[in-house]
Point group: C2
Chain length 204, copies 2
């Protein structure tokens, strides 16, 4: 028997990262456990030790890399941007650039898993919904921050944030179906008008 690694945190991270990549590309049901094991380069015993069931692994992937993906590509860029409009623009442009560069659209990790797992398991659905919530809330907070506290637009910042997340999620889905960035570009074209009109109204 070959020497074992004995690095629980490392092994666990390898497995979760491999599962994240496969779940995102092939889906949850489309990914057998042995594919995760092989990509992670661990033994069946190690995999079973850290994740007794596939659902445990799914939960860990959602709480880890999926949440981080939304935080890294959406929540942090929007928080750092000069305005909500500029933040949303940067995310759309980065996503479009990535599609043009790679030539393929794997889809949004959160959206892919939400579509597949929401009606299958309540525990997983709850975690996925929590990420959607944080995503919407981050955009809504940025929208409110750039307006005077008593502006009329504040009360629908939540609805607008919802619209932005829905637009992006839906556009990514269409981009995936067409394997092109066109739906994302078309969506941003119109979304830009909406956001800039609102910014000018807030400044006036």
């Amino acid at each position: 028997m070959s020497q074992r690694t004995n690095d629980p945190e490392g092994t666990r991270r390898q497995v979760v990262n491999a599962a994240f990549e496969l779940f995102t590309r092939k889906g949850y049901e489309g990914t057998p456990m042995h594919a995760v094991r092989d990509l992670a380069g661990v033994s069946s015993g190690a995999l079973a030790h850290h994740f007794p069931t596939k659902r445990d692994l799914g939960l860990a992937v959602i709480r880890g890399p999926v949440a981080e993906a939304i935080a890294g590509t959406w929540i942090e860029p929007v928080a750092r941007a000069s305005s909500a409009s500029a933040g949303v623009r940067s995310v759309f442009e980065a996503t479009i650039a990535d599609i043009v560069r790679t030539g393929t659209v794997a889809g949004c990790p959160l959206g892919n898993l939400a579509a597949e797992l929401s009606t299958r398991n309540d525990a997983l659905r709850f975690e996925l919904n929590a990420i959607f919530d944080r995503w919407r809330e981050a955009i809504a907070a940025k929208l409110q921050a750039q307006q005077p506290p008593d502006a009329a637009g504040n009360k629908d910042a939540g609805a607008l944030a919802n619209l932005i997340v829905a637009c992006f999620s839906g556009a990514i889905l269409m981009a995936k179906a067409s394997q092109s960035a066109v739906p994302l570009q078309a969506c941003w074209t119109h979304l830009q008008n909406i956001l800039e009109a609102r910014t000018q109204k807030g400044d006036g």
Copy 2:
């Protein structure tokens, strides 16, 4: 051996309808062939005769009930409506009412399958994308019809139609994750402003 039905069109339709319901509720990978067979109430032989592979059945479901679902819930209502805005409103309101009535969100048949199958099989992806195309085109045509032929807004009717489809698809996905109609309501709240602003601009 029991008497066979000998009704090829009927048998085929039973199978396709059963598969449509299961694919929509449980997903493509989440639906075994024997579940389709049992729900349709046909024999394994009949199923294999009409659909030698699962992919054949998937293709038939997409070309049939999935395409009809978009045509029946979106394309026809929008075409019949007094305006694009009124048409889109009626679809959102009907969808929200249905969610409130049933208490659950199974998701959009097209969106569910597009999320799961787009990166898995090009033939299926192509068919799904064709339905998205017809959906966008139907809304774009309605948007253009209510404006003077030389209006400035015409050139981005396609982009706005894209936005509407993306919003709806994304909102349905969030509704599925939250198992509530709230994301759809929030989306329509904002979309309504956009569409009505455009209508008044076109009328003036």
